[in-house]
C-alpha cells in the first residue's frame, strides 16, 4: 500500500459535505477507477489526494506518512496529477510541457539541465511521441495532448499519477491508445487513480473500482464485483444492463449498456 485514504470528509466553507467518509487503498502498480455521476465528488477526492485540498476529517497517508506533512515539492515528487486536456495561453513545445514535470525536482531558481532533458525525452519516448518534441503543444490533437500530459507525469517521476477524465473528448482509438499506455506503465509499477465517465474502460483496465454517489462510496472492489447492473443503476440513476462474455463459470463483464427509456 502506498496511498491510503481513511474516512475522508470534506466540505467547502460552511457547506454540505462533498465527501463523506471516503476510504480507499492504492497499491503499487494498481489502476484504480473512480466512477460516478457528475458532482458525486470524484474531482474533490482527486484534489484531496493530490494535496490541493485538505480534508476536514479523516486522513490521507502516503507511504504511511500523513500527506499534509509533506512539503509541496516533496509531495509532488510522489504524486502527480494529469489534468484534463487544456490549451495553455502560450504555444509551448511538447518538450517544454513535459519538462515542467521536473519542477518538483528543481529549486525555485533552478531550470532544467542536461539530466532533466534526458528524462523528458525518455518520457516522451515511452508514450511514443519522441518525434513530437518540438511541435507546439497547442497544435497537436487531443489524444496526443493527453499522452504529452502523461509523459509530463512520467517526467515528474512519481509513484502515483492521478488522471482527471483521461477519456473525455477522445475518440475510441485515442482512448484505447491512452489506456494501453496506462496499463503498460502500471505493469512497470506505477499506480494510477483514474476518474472517468467510461465504465467500459474500467471493465477493461481497472484493478479496483470506487463507485461513488453523492459524496459516498457506494461500492468498492474489483470491476466485476462493483460494475453490476443493480449497483450501476443505483449510482447513475438509470436502468443498465451488463453484457458478459465467456462460459458460465468464467463469465467476464465486457460492457455496460444503459437502457433506453422510451421507444
Amino acid at each position: 500500500m502506498i496511498l491510503e485514504a481513511r474516512n475522508v470528509t470534506f466540505a467547502y466553507a460552511a457547506g454540505v459535505p462533498v465527501l463523506r467518509r471516503v476510504s480507499l487503498t492504492l497499491e503499487r502498480g494498481m489502476i484504480l477507477y473512480l466512477l460516478g455521476r457528475n458532482g458525486c465528488g470524484k474531482t474533490t477526492l482527486m484534489q484531496c489526494l493530490s494535496g490541493g485540498l485538505r480534508p476536514n476529517a479523516g486522513q490521507i497517508t502516503l507511504d504511511g506518512r500523513d500527506l499534509h506533512s509533506y512539503a509541496p515539492a516533496e509531495r509532488a515528487r510522489q504524486i502527480g496529477l494529469i489534468p484534463q486536456i487544456h490549451t495553455p495561453a502560450f504555444a509551448y513545445t511538447v518538450r517544454e510541457i513535459v519538462l515542467m514535470g521536473r519542477a518538483p525536482h528543481l529549486g525555485l531558481f533552478g531550470s532544467p539541465g542536461k539530466r532533466d532533458y534526458l528524462i523528458a525525452d525518455e518520457a516522451l519516448e515511452s508514450v511514443g511521441l519522441a518525434h513530437y518534441a518540438h511541435r507546439p503543444y497547442t497544435q497537436i490533437s487531443g489524444g496526443e495532448r493527453q499522452l504529452v500530459l502523461i509523459a509530463r507525469g512520467l517526467a515528474q517521476r512519481c509513484q502515483v499519477l492521478l488522471m482527471d477524465e483521461p477519456d473525455a473528448h477522445l475518440d475510441l482509438h485515442n482512448q484505447q491508445k491512452v489506456m494501453e499506455i496506462v496499463a503498460r506503465l502500471a505493469g512497470q509499477g506505477l499506480s494510477f487513480i483514474v476518474s472517468s465517465h467510461a465504465p467500459n474502460n474500467a471493465l477493461a483496465y481497472a484493478h479496483w473500482v470506487l463507485l461513488m454517489k453523492t459524496g459516498r462510496v457506494l461500492s468498492a472492489g474489483a470491476p466485476a464485483d462493483t460494475l453490476t447492473a443493480p449497483l450501476l443503476s443505483d449510482a447513475y440513476d438509470l436502468e443498465a444492463d451488463v453484457i458478459y462474455d465467456g462460459a458460465d463459470d468464467q463469465r467476464v463483464p465486457r460492457a455496460v449498456l444503459p437502457r433506453r427509456r422510451t421507444r
Binding site: 509541496p72 509532488a76 489534468p83 495553455p88 495561453a89 502560450f90 515542467m100 531550470s111 497547442t138
Partner: protein, 351 residues
C-alpha cells in the same frame, strides 16, 4: 530553424548549432553593441576616437587629454546616463511585460495591468502641478505607482474568492481612477506652464536624464531583472494556472506576489525616470516569442535584451534625428507597430 537537438549537442557528437541558438546569442549581445553605437550618435558630432577616449578616461584619465571639454561632458554626462537609462527602462518594461503576461496567463497585458503606470502618471502630474523639481516628480511618480498597485492588492484581499481575477479587476479600477485624477489635474493645470509639462511627461521622454536618475533606476532594474531571470523557468508553470502549479509542487500565490512586487518596483522606477513609454511591455514580449518561442527560459533574457535594444534605438531617433525631441511614446508606436506586423509574418504557431 532547428538543425539539431540539444541532446546531441551535449553528447558532443555532431556539434551543430541551430539558427535559433545563433539568434538567441545575437539577441543577447545586441544591447551591448547598441549601447556602444548609441554613444557615438548625437546631434553634436564627436569622432569615434574621442568617444572612445572619453569613455576610457574614467579609468585612465590620461586618455582625456586631447578631447575637448565639451565632448567629454557630452559623452560622459549627457549621452552615457541617457543611453544607460534607455537600456535599463527598455529592459525593465519588456521583462515585466513578459512576467505579467505569464502570471496572468494573458498575452494582451503588460505591467500596467495593476495600475502602476497610471498611478505614476498621476504622481508626476501632481508634482508638476505643485511646481516640483525633477527629483520630486520622480519621487512622486515612483511613490504613487507603488500606491496604486498596493491599493489594488489591498482591495483584492477584501474578497476571498478568485483573488487573481479580483486583483486584475481592482488593478483596472485603480488604474482608471488614477487616470481620471490625472485628467482632473490636466483640467486645472495652467495651460501655459504646467499643462505642456504634464502632457510631455505622459508621452514619455529621456530629455532631462542625468546621472542623478541612474543609480536608483539601475539598482532596481538590475536586482529585479536578476530575480525575474532566476525564476524565469517557473513562469512557464505559473502560466498554466494555479491548479497545475500546485500539483507540480509550487506555491503559486507566493511566487506570483513576489513577481508582482518585483515588476511593480521595476515599472515604477522606469516610469519615474522616463515617463509613460507605452507599447514596449506589450510588443517586445510578442516579438521575443516570435523570435525564440514562448519558453520563458529564453524569453526573459531575450525580452530584457530586446527591450533594451528597442528603446535604445527609439531614443536614438528621438535625440539624434531632429533638433526637437520627439516624445518616446509617439515613436514607440510609430516604429513598433510596423515592426511587429513584420515579425508577425514569421509567426506560425500563435502565442
Amino acid at each position: 530553424m532547428r538543425v539539431v537537438t540539444l541532446r546531441r549537442l551535449w553528447q558532443g557528437a555532431d556539434v551543430q548549432v541551430s539558427g535559433r541558438d545563433v539568434l538567441y546569442v545575437v539577441l543577447l549581445l545586441l544591447p551591448f553593441a547598441l549601447i556602444v553605437l548609441s554613444l557615438m550618435l548625437g546631434l553634436y558630432s564627436i569622432s569615434v576616437e574621442n568617444v572612445g577616449r572619453a569613455l576610457l578616461s574614467s579609468i585612465a584619465p590620461a586618455m582625456a587629454e586631447s578631447v575637448p571639454q565639451t565632448e567629454l561632458t557630452l559623452v560622459l554626462r549627457i549621452r552615457l546616463p541617457r543611453v544607460l537609462s534607455a537600456a535599463l527602462i527598455g529592459a525593465a518594461l519588456a521583462s515585466t511585460g513578459v512576467a505579467f503576461q505569464g502570471i496572468f496567463k494573458n498575452p494582451l497585458v503588460d505591467s500596467n495591468l495593476l495600475g502602476v503606470t497610471s498611478g505614476a502618471g498621476f504622481g508626476a502630474a501632481l508634482a508638476l502641478l505643485l511646481g516640483g523639481t525633477a527629483a520630486l516628480v520622480q519621487g512622486f511618480a515612483f511613490g504613487f505607482g507603488l500606491l496604486a498597485v498596493s491599493l489594488a492588492y489591498v482591495g483584492s484581499r477584501l474578497y476571498s474568492t478568485a483573488p487573481m481575477i479580483v486583483l486584475t479587476l481592482m488593478g483596472i479600477l485603480i488604474g482608471s481612477f488614477f487616470g481620471s485624477m490625472t485628467s482632473l489635474i490636466k483640467y486645472v493645470a495652467d495651460p501655459l506652464n504646467t499643462l505642456p509639462a504634464i502632457t510631455f511627461w505622459l508621452l514619455g521622454g529621456l530629455t532631462g536624464v542625468t546621472w542623478s536618475s541612474v543609480p536608483s533606476l539601475a539598482v532596481i532594474t538590475l536586482v529585479g531583472g536578476a530575480f525575474l531571470w532566476l525564476v524565469r523557468w517557473r513562469l512557464n508553470i505559473l502560466s498554466l494556472g494555479d491548479a497545475e502549479a500546485v500539483t507540480l509542487g509550487m506555491n503559486p500565490n507566493r511566487l506570483k506576489l513576489i513577481i508582482i512586487v518585483c515588476a511593480t518596483l521595476m515599472t515604477a522606477a522606469a516610469v519615474a525616470v522616463g515617463g509613460v513609454i507605452g507599447w514596449i511591455g506589450l510588443v517586445i514580449p510578442h516579438a521575443g516569442r516570435i523570435l525564440v518561442g514562448p519558453d520563458h527560459k529564453r524569453l526573459i533574457p531575450v525580452s530584457l535584451a530586446l527591450g533594451a535594444s528597442f528603446l535604445l534605438a527609439i531614443d536614438n531617433l528621438s535625440r539624434a534625428l531632429l533638433p526637437t525631441e520627439v516624445p518616446l511614446g509617439v515613436l514607440t508606436g510609430l516604429v513598433g507597430v510596423p515592426l511587429l506586423i513584420l515579425l508577425l509574418r514569421r509567426n506560425q504557431t500563435g502565442w
